[in-house]
């Protein structure tokens, strides 16, 4: 590099090109104003002369944003173009100046050379001589040095002015987009993202387009139409992976694979697995990835509102599509899509069951929505009711397996709704073709169809769904609970009739077992229903629904919504089944980690009745107290006798060992307790006495039937058992009177003790001690005092009588079936 280039470097920018850039920016800004959308989109005028409604608002909004943004771009380009133009002019000027400086430099350099040459020539002059020559040389050098310094300074000035102009232009260009969305975008992707956030209609359309492209590409890769898809496409579908959790991708897949094709594809995969039996785990699970992917896509588009993230117009379109799709699924679901000779047949709904099963493991947290439950879910249950697919028939070894084998559509449907109480409630309260409620059918009639078969998986799935939908006290929960209890009770009542006698008891065991605990749970939420039923003067043989009264088992009373049971027979049937919980021969100790169903119910009954009795006793009103005793006795007697009848029925057929039965009875008795909240609100002694009463009754009834080897002997001993029970109940009645202070003030025991000198039989609270802790002398004096207190005569007798009355109500109800 020359000294000149080092001292006065040339400027490399191109002012001409910058002027052209400026012209280009200005031209683009002007052309933008020519667009139709920029001219007429801002107010939406140009969209249509007469258009109003939500769609217009969505389109108008999108057009307005587009028009505004186009104008922002155009108006932003203008100052940027001007700034660039200014800089281009400055650059041109600077280049001219630098060129002039460089020329001046060149002239100076030549002048310096000439001056030096002239000075050298003077050295030969004898007159002027060497001294003069040296002086001229020094002067030439000094002048050249001064000129160079001056030129450098002037170049620096030019460069600084150009830089300042460039800085100003850069500021204007960087701020070209002004304020608003996209103003801070650093690159093209940032700008696109910022603008699309303001253009929901466009963003949605682009997302849908991308999703459709993805699925179209998949179908292209398959190399044959979806109608022909089978096991070769398994891996291809699986390759979509988690992409199908995007509702748009899932919708695009379901759109290209309508219900009939979807069902056929699933049927072919399942048939391929079933075509060879005895292969290992790898064979059976070879399509799990494909089915998981399809299941995930399926459940994603069945969810409640999968399009929430889209703009309103796109969401409306998707809702409309979902509605049509559900209708298509509902209509095609009952049809057989596999081999017509398959047993069980593979139907459209079978495919949905397979997909729901697989979705449960692959997309946790995503569940079908209410709309799906009300349409497709309801149709699935109705198809199950109408067809004879359930229970599946045992397959002969020589017959090839069906793809539908092992698929319980009802279990899959109910399991998929576990995490969706709203959708589950909508399904359970759906009305089938015969007018029956879904929950009534699933908890009752369907179970009777499987008599003698293994435990249906749907029963456990139903129990789980009932636990989250039917244990509340609102109208919907109570309606579901009432229908479930009625269906369950009806099935229990009619089981004997179906099989013609006692054989039904054991044949029915497996069918009902999955629901026993949850039925106890439902009844325990409404313990008042037991007394209401026992005391029901109508005791109707069937529901006498008034026109429009579609839920006769749900009643709105003064205390809110509660369950009503049809009659005493049905209540006894339900409670009898609760007593059989864990009584399946050989499986008595198996079951969920919960208390036996009977203990669960009794705890609730004790809590409810004790609280009521405590309230009655606290009033001091004789009638109230008497009513409390009647109710406590009858409810206890009814529940225990109903449970005993159920237990006896099982024993008659199974000859269960005494030890096994006693273990169960002990477990029930030891499980009885009062809720902590109730214990605080009622007198401790009263709660303890009532609890003791029921606990002893449980043990006596249970042991009385099981300490012998057969039910026949148990019945023979029933008289002795009841005699013992009566004795103990009387004793407890005495304790109840003592504890509650059930006497007139004139009969106060402390006053009596003072008036009759001798040992006191009272505790510190002025009430008689428990009988078991009295000495012989105390007991003697206590008996003497109590002879004059009427309650010690009436209350024990009333308790015994009412327990017997409750038990009699059960026997009468059963006999009348």
């Amino acid at each position: 590099m020359s000294e000149l280039d080092l001292a006065l470097p040339p400027l490399h920018g191109s002012a001409d090109v910058l002027h052209a850039v400026c012209a280009g920016l200005a031209q683009v800004a002007a052309r933008l104003d020519d667009t139709f959308v920029a001219r007429e989109g801002r107010e939406g005028r140009g969209l249509a002369r007469a258009w109003a409604g939500p769609a217009f608002e969505a389109a108008r909004s999108e057009a307005a944003v587009t028009a505004t943004t186009i104008e922002r771009v155009a108006r932003g380009l203008e100052p940027a173009a001007a700034a660039v133009d200014t800089y281009a002019a400055a650059l041109a000027d600077a280049r001219r100046r630098v060129l002039a400086l460089r020329e001046e430099w060149e002239r100076g350099r030549q002048e310096h050379r000439r001056a030096r040459a002239e000075a050298v020539s003077l050295a030969e002059d004898p007159v002027l001589g060497v001294l003069s020559s040296l002086a001229r040389l020094r002067a030439a050098d000094l002048e050249w040095q001064r000129l160079r310094s001056e030129l450098r300074g002037r170049h620096t000035g030019v460069a600084e002015r150009l830089t300042a102009s460039g800085d100003q232009a850069a500021v204007v260009v960087r701020a070209w987009f002004g304020e608003g969305p996209g103003a801070d975008a650093a690159d093209a992707a940032g700008m696109r993202g910022a603008l699309l956030a303001e253009l929901p209609f466009t963003a949605g359309a682009l997302q849908r387009s991308a999703a459709r492209d993805l699925i179209a590409n998949l179908i292209t890769r398959a190399g044959r139409p979806v109608e022909q898809w089978g096991e070769p496409e398994g891996d291809l579908v699986a390759s979509l992976g988690d992409a199908v959790r995007d509702p748009l991708v899932a919708q695009a897949l379901m759109e290209r694979m309508p219900p009939t094709l979807l069902a056929s594809f699933v049927a072919r995969l399942r048939a391929h697995i079933a075509s060879v039996s005895g292969e290992g785990h790898g064979w059976r699970t070879q399509f799990d990835d494909a089915l998981n992917t399809l299941g995930a896509a399926f459940v994603t588009v069945t969810a409640q509102r999968p399009w929430e993230f889209l703009d309103t117009a796109a969401a409306a379109w998707m809702r409309s599509w979902q509605h049509r799709w559900f209708d298509h699924l509902r209509r095609t679901g009952p049809s057989i899509v596999g081999d017509r000779l398959d047993d069980p047949p593979f139907r459209g709904f079978t495919a949905l069951g397979v997909l729901l099963d697989h979705a449960g493991g692959s997309v946790p947290g995503v569940t079908p929505g209410v709309a799906f439950a009300r349409t497709v879910g309801l149709a699935m249950v109705d198809a199950d009711r109408i067809s004879d697919d359930y229970p599946p028939q045992p397959r002969l070894p020589a017959v090839q397996g069906s793809g539908a084998e092992g698929v319980d559509v009802m279990a899959a449907l109910l399991s998929s709704l576990r995490g969706a109480p709203d959708a589950a409630s909508a399904l359970l309260l759906g009305r089938l073709g015969n007018g029956q409620l879904v929950v009534h059918y699933l908890a009752g009639e369907r179970l009777t169809r499987g008599v003698g078969g293994p435990a249906p998986p749907a029963a456990e799935a139903l129990a789980a769904v009932l636990a989250v939908t039917a244990t509340g006290c609102d109208e919907q929960s109570v309606s579901i609970a009432g229908a479930a209890l009625d269906g369950f009770g009806h099935a229990a009542e009619t089981a004997g009739g179906i099989l013609g006698g006692g054989d039904a008891v054991l044949a029915f065991e497996q069918q009902l077992q999955g629901l026993r605990y949850v039925m106890a749970d439902l009844l325990s939420v409404h313990p008042d229903a037991i007394w209401t039923t026992i005391n029901d003067p109508v005791n109707a043989p069937s529901w006498l629904s008034a026109p429009g009264d579609e839920q006769p088992w749900a009643i709105l009373g003064t205390g809110g919504w509660t369950v009503r049971v049809l009659n005493r027979s049905r209540l006894a049937a339900v409670i009898g089944e609760l007593g059989k919980d864990r009584l399946v021969p050989g499986l008595a100790t198996a079951g969920p980690p919960t208390a036996p169903a009977m203990a669960h119910l009794l705890n609730s009954v004790i809590a409810s009745e004790t609280a009521r009795l405590a309230e009655a006793l606290s009033t001091g009103d004789l009638d109230e107290r008497h009513a409390g005793i009647i109710r406590l006795g009858q409810v206890t007697g009814f529940v225990l006798e109903a449970a005993r009848a159920g237990v006896i029925a099982v024993q008659e057929r199974a000859d269960v060992s005494a030890a096994e039965r006693q273990a169960l009875v002990d477990r029930i008795a030891s499980s009885l307790s009062l809720p902590a909240t109730l214990r605080k609100s009622i007198p401790t002694a009263l709660a303890g006495r009532t609890l003791d009463l029921v606990r002893k009754a449980v043990i006596w009834v249970g042991y009385g039937d099981t300490t012998v080897g057969s039910a026949a002997r148990a019945e023979l001993n029933a008289g002795a058992v009841h005699a013992r029970l009566e004795s103990e109940l009387r004793s407890l009645g005495w304790e109840l009177v003592s504890t509650s202070g059930w006497w007139d003030p004139a009969d106060d025991p402390l006053a009596w003790v003072q008036a009759h000198p001798g040992v006191s039989f009272c505790s510190a609270d002025g009430r008689p001690l428990p009988l078991a802790s009295m000495t012989a002398e105390q007991r003697e004096r206590f008996l003497t005092w109590s002879q004059d207190v009427p309650a010690f005569t009436t209350v024990p007798s009333a308790i015994v009588a009412e327990v017997q009355e409750g038990a009699r109500a059960v026997r009468t109800a059963i006999a009348a079936r």
């Binding site: 920018g13 969209l47 002369r49 258009w51 771009v73 660039v84």
Partner: protein, 100 residues
């Protein structure tokens, strides 16, 4: 929900808007090229050169996005106009059946 529609208006609007997308897209490409040329031409001022390149990219992307928006609107308006017209026809047929 109040709904008032002149289907032919929507179709006309769709047709008039149909050319906007391609125009905007081509202008966006022009801007992207212009920014790059400006960056080269202002090479003596790196900050300005970078700003010009960024303007070209961002403005080009903005116009590309707006082109997508006008395309979507044009398609949507056209489809809506066609569907509304079909619905009108069906209603008219139903109306004639009721009358006759």
């Amino acid at each position: 929900m109040q709904l008032r529609v002149a289907p032919e208006d929507l179709v006309v609007a769709s047709l008039r808007m149909r050319d906007d997308g391609p125009l905007l897209r081509s202008l966006g490409e022009v801007l992207a090229g212009t920014g790059a040329r400006g960056g080269w031409a202002a090479c003596d001022h790196p900050s300005l050169a970078a700003a010009l390149v960024a303007l070209g990219n961002c403005a080009g992307a903005a116009l590309g996005t707006l082109a997508d928006a006008t395309d979507t609107l044009a398609t949507g308006l056209g489809d809506a106009g066609q569907h509304y017209a079909e619905a009108e026809d069906r209603l008219a047929v139903m109306g004639r059946r009721v009358i006759t």
